[in-house]
């Protein structure tokens, strides 16, 4: 299929992941950006302020004094009807946390790029998913990109997903710190006008019926149609105001899939069905499930193993929130052993993806044996040899039928 914008009409550029998302935000007609720099997200803020300084965008850039303020400012902007964007990582995300819950409960379609980085202590600037997993219950849509191209594509898609009338939820786009944020890769970018057409121009707030105004009004702070946003609810209404958040989440998967297809028609690029990017899973005996940039390394190894005749597969979870339970169950139900690689650990429990996938497979007769690998904390590199070790161990589990230790640490020194 030839995309609506063929490759020779797209802009080829060598950029790192941070720059890619900054360009995406630039093209997405963002009204307000409020951000505070933190490694490894810094380049996004630098690049975007460059666009502002050069007069390349009309965006109001608010250089705030902290991430708490950054999130507060974009919440305010979005509540006023603006398309708003911010980016952070690690401790910055931790400082945003209480406001993340507010953004989603107010149903504000913000986009946040997280350049995934470990949480202190010890202080560390490198990649893991502890920061993203800290916000997994905050009511945000969470998507993980595998490479720089996907980071660009997903940031644009994120606005469309967030602003879908059925969704109206904030979206976090995750890219692995340094591994993607600082790695130069060749990508294709769409011309500005194509991105703007894809998003339907500037943000249009959705309407809702407000009794005391006696009419439908746009959900935004507008003096001519005054509304209060998020005031006190006691046990009389709080619960009723939370259920719609859960219901909106149920709509997200279909919207992500549709946007993935629309993007494919436009650009020629798509990522699995949008929620899961599976490789070789259909007839696989053993499968590794993984998020983010490591998926590429796992697929690289899996392709080699396939050449040796090993029936291996890779299940890349692209959409982590809402979690695609049905899709995961359908893809994994016939598999014999599933190794779940998590770049974060819920101390006292398992890795977050392991818990989700276990839930997805709950109640299936002869459900796959499962083992959880915690890997890459604090940026520990994952060479192909470690991935091979995982596949070898999964094969052993398949042969013996014994899982043994369910929680394993990959690439860590013992003794």
């Amino acid at each position: 299929m030839i995309p609506k914008v063929p490759l020779d009409k797209q802009i080829k550029k060598a950029v790192n992941g941070d720059e890619a998302t900054a360009y995406a935000a630039k093209q997405s007609l963002v009204d307000v950006v409020a951000a505070y720099p933190i490694t490894p997200q810094t380049i996004i803020v630098e690049k975007f302020s460059e666009f502002v300084a050069n007069g390349e965008v009309y965006t109001e850039f608010v250089p705030v004094e902290s991430e708490h303020s950054a999130m507060s400012a974009v919440i305010g902007a979005a509540a006023a009807g603006a398309r708003a964007f911010t980016a952070t990582a690690s401790q910055g995300l931790a400082l945003m946390l209480e406001n993340l819950y507010i953004a989603s409960a107010l149903r504000l379609p913000l986009v946040l790029v997280v350049a995934n980085r470990a949480l202190s202590a010890p202080i560390n600037i490198h990649c893991d998913h502890s920061d993203a997993m800290m916000m997994r219950d905050a009511g945000w849509v969470q998507i993980f990109a595998e490479n720089t191209q996907e980071a660009y594509d997903t940031t644009i898609q994120a606005f469309k997903i967030a602003e879908d009338p059925e969704v109206q939820l904030p979206v976090a786009v995750n890219l692995d710190g340094f591994i993607l944020s600082h790695t130069l890769e060749d990508i294709y970018m769409l011309p500005d006008e194509e991105v703007q057409k894809f998003l339907g121009g500037y943000r249009k707030p959705v309407k809702t019926y407000v009794d005391y105004l006696g009419k439908e009004v746009e959900v935004k702070l507008d003096p001519s149609n005054p509304i209060s946003i998020g005031p006190l609810d006691l046990y009389d209404y709080y619960f009723e105001h939370k259920v719609p958040q859960a219901v909106a989440m149920e709509k997200v998967k279909e919207v992500v899939k549709r946007v993935n297809e629309e993007w494919f028609e436009l650009s020629g690029r798509k990522y699995g069905d949008g929620v899961i990017d599976a490789w070789g899973v259909e007839d696989a005996d053993v499968v590794v499930a993984v998020l983010g940039s490591t998926s590429g390394t796992v697929r690289y190894v899996a392709k080699e193993l396939r050449k040796e005749g090993k029936k291996v597969g890779v299940l890349r979870i692209r959409l982590f929130r809402p979690f695609p339970f049905d899709e995961v169950r359908d893809l994994l139900k016939e598999v014999k052993v599933v190794g779940v690689m998590d770049r974060a650990l819920s101390f006292g429990s398992f890795g977050p993806s392991f818990l989700e996938i276990s839930t997805a497979l709950q109640g299936i007769r002869n459900s796959p044996l499962m083992v959880n690998y915690i890997y890459g904390l604090g940026g520990r590199d994952v060479p192909p040899s470690h991935v091979k070790q995982v596949f070898n161990e999964l094969e052993e589990i398949m042969k013996s039928g014994e899982v043994g230790k369910r929680l394993r640490f990959l690439g860590v020194r013992e003794r």
Partner: protein
């Protein structure tokens, strides 16, 4: 303004507006019954400086064009008006007296 019937029968989540918006105005919540002390204006002392009108945190002091007056439906009896009055024209008296 205000859907009185729904006060008796609270709404379910399906009929609430989007995004944590309350469907009723705060005007429906008459907070005057929280009051223990009631502000009373002595118009003989009042000089129409309107400081009480400015300071009232509940906008329960109104101006009719000639004088200020209390809207006891919303006055919680906090006493700020009495405190800021430069001529001591507002007294806080126990409710029911």
């Amino acid at each position: 303004m205000g859907d009185k019937s729904s006060v008796k029968e609270p709404r379910g989540w399906k009929s609430l507006p989007l995004g944590a918006l309350p469907y009723r105005l705060s005007l429906d919540y008459k907070t005057g019954d929280w009051r223990a002390l009631k502000p009373v204006i002595d118009y003989g002392k009042c000089v129409n400086c309107m400081l009480c009108w400015l300071y009232c945190p509940d906008s329960a002091i109104l101006w009719d064009g000639k004088k200020v007056f209390m809207n006891y439906d919303y006055c919680k009896g906090c006493g700020i008006c009495s405190d800021v009055c430069p001529t001591k024209a507002i007294k806080m008296v126990p409710e029911g007296e």
